[in-house]
């Protein structure tokens, strides 16, 4: 059993409180979960439940239906509508409006015939093959977990919830879409001068170039609005990566004196109240900030007890998955897709999540038909806008090959660090293609 009954009580209680039933005592909420009945009647054939309707989950849902319309596909997503992180930096700079990056979940569900359930998954029982929501449980034959990331503020505040909340509200990370992005945009456009700090998370994190692109876009806004502000990037790495030369050139040629890049700046202490960050590269006082804590796999992977362990048996923070089949190592009926995985050579990107989602759909459809699935590896293309006037971007594109002898996945990257207007236009073409693929 992946989660004990006592744990289920605990998780369900927390989940339901999280879902907004604060007037009910936790105990009765938990009891209700245990007494819960099935939310959907049993399907005639196989049912695949997908938890998380982001880039990965949406792709799996659509492509499963395309592969085999007879599969009962259920997508559970807690957000009422879709807000894209990709292109959110361009939106931050005012190049596109909210309509470009927001989409409705109803169109693809109605068009492709999968069930879209707008609720939160509060518990998972792998031995019973059940997923719990506040409205009942749903049984599955195959489960896809695609909840994206969660923030690990504990790495900074060691469980101090007040400090975490204070930081979340005052200096939102905006790596999980929604209010945080809107708050960040408000902060950037209302900024009147001083030092605006961006922290780059350590280790693996969602969208490696995002902080650097964001810095360029914020610097562009400051420059355009004649704001005497600096954007200070605190990066634990030794250098900018990926597309380092492209970002560096933009900072030096377009934003000299505006963007300051600080390498080897691992965070020792964050004091959001007094606005000081202590790092291995020195202490930094800030006027305002975009404080991005370390990332981990989304909560559902923890709930399902599918987090990888290191040699000492400590959780790595990321899902334990076979990168060739996307299956959970501990449970072949569970597929782990998108940003939930760390350590494999796949970066965490929307393109990558979409690419993986198609493969996972084919693997599950093949398994349901009792067929073997031939090895397929995903790919990634990532544009970053670095200039606003004129709009100019750089790009990296990576395909992967499997080295049978070495048993290794080898990336083949191709980069253009020379920024251009053509690549800026291609950035939007990239996004339009992706949105069409997920929604149209």
């Amino acid at each position: 059993m992946s989660i004990s009954r006592r744990d289920l009580f605990k998780v369900a209680g927390v989940g339901i409180l999280g879902a907004g039933l604060l007037s009910k005592p936790a105990f009765s909420a938990a009891e209700r979960v245990v007494k819960m009945s099935a939310m959907l009647p049993s399907p005639k054939g196989n049912r695949v439940v997908i938890c998380g309707g982001g880039w990965a989950g949406l792709t799996v849902a659509k492509y499963l239906k395309k592969e085999d319309p007879s599969i009962d596909v259920v997508l559970i997503e807690k957000r009422p509508n879709f807000f894209s992180c990709p292109i959110s930096n361009e939106w931050l700079a005012g190049f596109v409006d909210l309509d470009f990056i927001s989409h409705d979940y109803l169109q693809p569900a109605s068009k492709y015939g999968y069930k879209f359930i707008n609720t939160t998954v509060v518990a998972i029982e792998r031995d019973k093959r059940r997923v719990y929501t506040p409205h009942g449980y749903i049984e599955y034959d195959y489960l896809v977990l695609a909840p994206g990331i969660k923030y690990n503020y504990d790495a900074w505040f060691k469980g101090d919830k007040d400090m975490t909340r204070y930081t979340k509200y005052h200096y939102p990370a905006a790596f999980i879409p929604g209010s945080e992005h809107l708050a960040l945009k408000r902060k950037v456009w209302e900024f009147e001068g001083g030092d605006f700090v961006i922290t780059v998370p350590p280790g693996v994190y969602r969208c490696p170039p995002a902080p650097y692109e964001r810095a360029a876009m914020i610097a562009y806004v400051f420059k355009k609005n004649n704001v005497k502000g600096r954007v200070i990037i605190l990066d634990p790495k030794e250098d900018i990566a990926p597309k380092g030369p492209g970002f560096r050139a933009a900072y030096e040629q377009l934003y000299l004196g505006i963007v300051e890049y600080v390498p080897k700046a691992s965070i020792k202490e964050v004091d959001p109240v007094n606005k000081i960050i202590k790092t291995t590269a020195g202490d930094f006082k800030f006027t305002d900030a975009n404080l991005v804590p370390p990332h981990q796999a989304g909560e559902l992977v923890w709930m399902a007890d599918l987090i990888a362990k290191d040699k000492e048996g400590k959780p790595t923070g990321w899902a334990d998955q076979d990168p060739l089949t996307f299956q959970a190592k501990a449970d072949p009926r569970v597929f782990l897709v998108g940003d939930v995985v760390g350590g494999v050579p796949y970066p965490k990107s929307g393109h990558m999540a979409n690419s993986q989602g198609k493969i996972v759909a084919r693997i599950i459809a093949s398994r349901i038909k009792g067929k073997e699935h031939k090895l397929e590896l995903p790919d990634n293309t990532c544009y970053s806008m670095v200039n606003g006037n004129p709009q100019e971007a750089i790009v990296i594109s990576v395909t992967y090959k499997y080295d049978e002898k070495e048993k290794k996945i080898i990336p083949h990257p191709k980069v253009i660090n020379q920024r251009s207007e053509a690549l800026a236009k291609a950035t939007y073409e990239w996004a339009k293609g992706m949105y069409r693929d997920l929604f149209a």
Binding site: K66, K425, E429, K432, G433
Partner: protein, 238 residues
């Protein structure tokens, strides 16, 4: 075209036409790779006179619309004999592409709708383009290829539009060309075409550009062939 090749390709047509046209079976039919005969359309120059082989400069990217008024295709003279090839699809299916047309068998034509996520040339931009051997792509360093800058898919125009790299899951759909004397005709498509999805996904844009979907879906009877730069404001290379 070689009669044997044609017969082989035709046999898949019979199977495809049995499939009903619901959205799912349409996708299914599309992934099988078929030859479809459409109206026979003469390729013409801008002045309306028939396009002759001599008019087609080597390694230059020409655009025309076939089989519908709104579906863009590329015509390229690869300047050498291009042999027929068998193309394999991921689902295990395969089909034969007829190779180059014309006296030198050097003319190839493909649908310019990217099989990945349908990027295609519009009046404003074209992100999917031919890169001549002497002008390789900056990203992939490859020439003699068709590359789509939306998500960097690469296709081989000398091999039936085969996918060389990137996210596209099947080849570019080829346009079947036939010559009669000096005249060149487009007569059908070979491979996995994306027309149904194209009309579905770009409904609003097509209505805006053509006045109505019916206009956009009108079958053409002749195709004006122009260099890409005469059609689109910006040819985007990457």
């Amino acid at each position: 075209m070689d009669r044997r090749v044609f017969i082989k390709a035709c046999s898949t047509l019979a199977v495809a036409s049995l499939v009903d046209a619901s959205i799912f079976s349409q996708t299914l039919a599309n992934t099988k790779g078929t030859l479809k005969r459409y109206t026979k359309a003469l390729l013409v120059k801008e002045d309306g006179s028939p396009l002759r082989e001599e008019d087609i400069k080597p390694h230059t990217q020409y655009i025309f619309f076939y089989p519908y008024a709104s579906t863009p295709c590329y015509l390229i003279n690869l300047d050498r004999e291009i042999k027929p090839v068998e193309l394999k699809l991921k689902d295990g299916g395969s089909y034969t592409w007829q190779g180059g047309a014309g006296k030198k068998r050097s003319l190839v034509a493909y649908s310019a709708i990217c099989p990945h996520q349908l990027s295609h040339p519009t009046k404003d931009y074209s992100f999917i383009n031919y890169y001549p051997p002497d002008k390789p792509s900056e990203t992939t360093k490859k020439g003699g290829i068709i590359q789509c800058c939306a998500h960097v898919s690469l296709f081989d125009p000398a091999e039936g539009g085969k996918v060389l790299d990137g996210p596209a899951e099947f080849p570019l759909a080829a346009i079947l060309l036939e010559t009669e004397g000096d005249k060149i005709y487009a007569v059908g498509t070979v491979g996995v075409d994306q027309f149904t999805q194209f009309f579905e996904n770009f409904k609003q844009d097509l209505i805006q550009q053509y006045g109505s979907l019916a206009n956009a879906k009108k079958m053409v009877e002749s195709c004006t062939v122009v260099e890409i730069k005469r059609y689109t404001k910006e040819v985007i290379h990457c």
